[in-house]
């Protein structure tokens, strides 16, 4: 039996004081048996709330999703779920909106990840150097991350309006061709990536900067003695040593990028047409907007598998080099 938790002692002693006067043999007996039960099963009793919570909030929804994906159901009571076997998965293969959403998800994740990692690491390295106003710039660079996501995306949407927006105004002033930004199929996803990069590069900066500052000094000293110069130090020492930190930051960003939702929902709602609709938005639409609950269950399974595979692959990368 495990250690008897302190909390139960407290409970016991107070009970003892309360019932001291009227204590009969029977009371003593029941009190002892309760105490014995609690002592024997303390590990079960103490973890029960957490287990119940997990079962209700996590296991049941996942289990229900795995069950309902074999049905056609629109959430009604009069028309109950109708079993269609693998029908939802067959539809999924034929569904052009699904393949488009898959493509958009991969597009946003890969381009966004590369951009944010390169920019974030670069800026973190710059900020590690000492120059005047370094602290002020550091503080300012963190601001985008602090802003409310939906509000940010809405402001960007305004800036990206082709005729009224400030971005095209500047492009025009600089003598460059103007863009349709969120209003054209080809530029909608890049515009989303731009907003996301503006907002989330600071996260990578913060993580990488913390990593740089915790690096040991010795390798640098010996490198200098051996006569290594700037670029060599960066590529041979700093970056390899930072690898686990950068990969951690990348895992965080990858998961977020795969499930990008708020930026798209407030800036383009997946439009024009479906050109910026990723899996997350599509699943939201099918499940909560069209009430095709079974089909969205099937989509969720695919979505879940993608996240699982990607994070597993990335975390293996992290494990290869350890210090």
């Amino acid at each position: 039996m495990g250690p008897f938790p302190a909390f139960l002692y407290l409970f016991n002693s107070s009970q003892y004081i309360c019932f001291q006067d009227s204590m009969t043999k029977r009371n003593v007996k029941s009190r002892v048996s309760i105490q014995k039960f609690l002592e024997d099963k303390a590990s079960i009793v103490m973890t029960a709330p957490a287990v119940v919570f997990m079962a209700v909030m996590i296991v049941f929804p996942i289990g229900f999703t795995l069950y309902i994906m074999f049905f056609r159901w629109s959430g009604g009571v009069i028309n109950p779920p109708q079993f269609i076997g693998l029908g939802n998965f067959i539809n999924l293969i034929k569904d052009p909106r699904f393949s488009n959403a898959l493509f958009v998800t991969i597009y946003i994740t890969s381009v966004g990840l590369v951009l944010q990692t390169v920019l974030g690491t670069g800026i973190a390295l710059l900020l590690n150097e000492s120059f005047v106003g370094r602290k002020v710039i550091r503080a300012f660079l963190l601001l985008p991350m602090m802003a409310t996501w939906v509000a940010t995306a809405l402001v960007w949407r305004w800036m990206m309006y082709p005729r009224l927006g400030v971005l095209n105004f500047f492009l025009e002033k600089l003598g460059l061709p103007t863009l349709l930004w969120l209003s054209a199929n080809a530029t909608a996803v890049p515009s989303i990536i731009l907003i996301d990069t503006w907002q989330w590069t600071p996260l990578i900066i913060v993580i990488v900067l913390a990593g740089i500052q915790s690096l040991p000094k010795e390798p640098y000293e010996s490198a200098k003695i051996d006569g290594a110069h700037g670029w060599q130090i960066l590529f041979r020492i700093t970056l390899p040593m930072l690898r686990p930190v950068i990969v951690t930051a990348m895992i965080l960003r990858t998961v977020d990028l795969i499930k990008t939702f708020d930026v798209i929902m407030s800036a383009s709602q997946g439009g024009p047409g479906y050109s910026s609709e990723n899996l997350n938005i599509y699943i939201y639409n099918t499940g909560l907007f069209y009430f095709r609950i079974g089909y969205s269950g099937a989509l969720l399974l695919i979505y879940f598998l993608i996240i699982l595979i990607v994070t597993y692959t990335l975390s293996k990368q992290k494990g290869e080099i350890s210090f």
């Binding site: 629109s74 009604g76 009571v77 009069i78 052009p96 309006y161 082709p162 005729r163 349709l180 969120l182 209003s183 054209a184 199929n185 383009s268 709602q269 997946g270 439009g271 024009p272 047409g273 479906y274 639409n285 907007f289 069209y290 095709r292």
Partner: protein
């Protein structure tokens, strides 16, 4: 301890009051009724579920007059639109609560209400002189307003009955800039082709102004495009209930929307246009015409937000190739859900709220555009609304059709059809997109095999 006792006693007292009220209502209904009288259902209490809408705001302070007239107490519950819809859905599905009267937008909720049999047919009250006031006058309602409440307007087709009685209407007009039309010697377009030529002319010749603005954003555009579809002689479904958005008529409507966008409007940018963008452009004087609901006249005639006050003309939408001019209509109505236990008292409330006097009062004092001819034809209305708006509205409201596809899966179908509109605006292959959309439409409404 004593305090708790008091609390329990007080609570019991109030519970007793509640039950007493319920019993009284029952007694009133049991009494035999031999002729119509406003106080026949005195003592009943009804629960009314409403959306936070200008109509609700205007009616709320007047409810005491209803209670005074009938002796029926009204518990009004008002929620913002999204919460209102979900609250209503939850109560109807669970079937536990009692709602006596609720607001319902038939073109949005109708198909679901019909298939789940949620509505108490209003006809049985209208046809019964014992519960309907002799001066109610059903024929005074504008044709399209009452049609939009008919069950046969929507799928699934079955028995014909009224889902509710309309309280507000949203109708459509072609709004145009009188000053610009005069300056460039343009005439108000009579056909859609003329409208296109006029829009193109403005785009090419008037500086800083586009010819026409309308919605272009995927699902949002479908409601405004629906009148183009009707005007071209098309419809959402054919006679067999199969999707008909790849017919020559529908293709004509899609192509016209695309042509208008590219040659007579803001171009591809239109794919981001919702009502906010269109009204901003038009009220700031950047567009010569607006294809949309004429209720926006409240924005255009407001000197604080508009640069075009007094310069806007209102006309019926132009005719399509076959000579039809069929605008869309949006209606809010009052319905009695099956959950109600006081049908007659609920009907009294609806009857009072949609009586000739009331509709006229709401229209003249609060600018709530109602569904009755007599109110629209009241000479005093010209003090508040432009004459051309009133005239075009009365004509439109006789023939208009609901703006949504008449099926349960409205959201999904709107997205499917909206993507064809986007393709048309972008100058893509409209025919292929419409064919594909028609297939998806059929699948979405569960007729994938039937309608191949």
């Amino acid at each position: 301890m004593k305090k708790t006792m008091y609390l329990v006693i007080v609570l019991l007292f109030f519970a007793g009051l509640l039950f007493a009220g319920g019993q009284k209502a029952g007694e009133a209904e049991a009494a035999a009724i031999t002729e119509f009288g406003w106080r026949n259902y005195e003592g009943t209490t009804i629960r009314v579920l409403a959306n936070r809408h200008p109509w609700t705001n205007a009616v709320e302070p007047l409810i005491s007059e209803f209670t005074e007239l009938t002796g029926i107490k009204v518990n009004l519950e008002v929620y913002p639109e999204d919460q209102f819809r979900s609250k209503r859905a939850v109560e109807l599905i669970s079937g536990v609560a009692e709602i006596d009267v609720t607001m319902l937008m038939p073109m949005q909720g109708g198909p679901r209400w019909i298939s789940e049999k949620w509505a108490v047919p209003i006809d049985k009250f209208l046809d019964n002189p014992l519960v309907t006031s002799p001066d109610y006058d059903r024929d005074d309602f504008l044709g399209a307003a009452l049609d939009s409440e008919m069950s046969t307007t929507y799928e699934p087709k079955g028995e014909a009955y009224l889902l509710g009685i309309p309280i507000t209407v949203e109708n459509q007009a072609l709004m145009y800039r009188k000053d610009v039309f005069e300056k460039y010697n343009l005439s108000v377009p009579k056909t859609v082709e003329e409208m296109y030529e006029t829009a193109k002319f403005v785009n090419e010749n008037v500086p800083d102004m586009v010819g026409i603005v309308m919605r272009g954003k995927r699902a949002a555009a479908t409601s405004q495009w629906s009148s183009m579809l009707y005007t071209y002689g098309g419809s959402w479904l054919d006679d067999n209930g199969c999707p008909a958005i790849d017919t020559p008529e529908a293709l004509g409507a899609f192509n016209m929307w695309g042509k208008l966008a590219r040659d007579g409007s803001v171009g591809q940018e239109l794919v981001a246009y919702h009502w906010y963008e269109t009204t901003t452009d038009f009220s700031q004087g950047r567009a010569a015409m607006h294809w949309g609901p004429c209720n926006f006249n409240a924005i255009y005639e407001n000197p604080e937000s508009s640069k075009v006050v007094g310069k806007v003309g209102y006309a019926r939408i132009p005719q399509g190739p076959k000579g039809d001019s069929i605008p869309y209509i949006g209606t809010w109505g009052l319905s009695i859900p099956y959950l109600s236990k006081s049908h007659e008292a609920a009907w009294y409330f609806i009857q009072w709220a949609t009586s000739k006097d009331m509709v006229k009062r709401l229209m003249l004092e609060h600018m709530i555009l109602g569904g009755r001819k007599s109110a629209w034809q009241d000479p005093q209305l010209e003090k508040y609304l432009p004459k051309d708006l009133i005239e075009s509205s009365i004509a439109s409201l006789e023939v208009a059709k609901p703006f949504n596809p008449p099926v349960i899966q409205i959201s999904e179908v709107r997205d499917i059809v909206g993507s064809v509109i986007v393709t048309a605006i972008q100058g893509g292959d409209v025919e292929a997109a419409a064919k594909e959309a028609n297939r998806l439409f059929a699948e979405a409404i569960g007729k994938g095999d039937e309608c191949r």
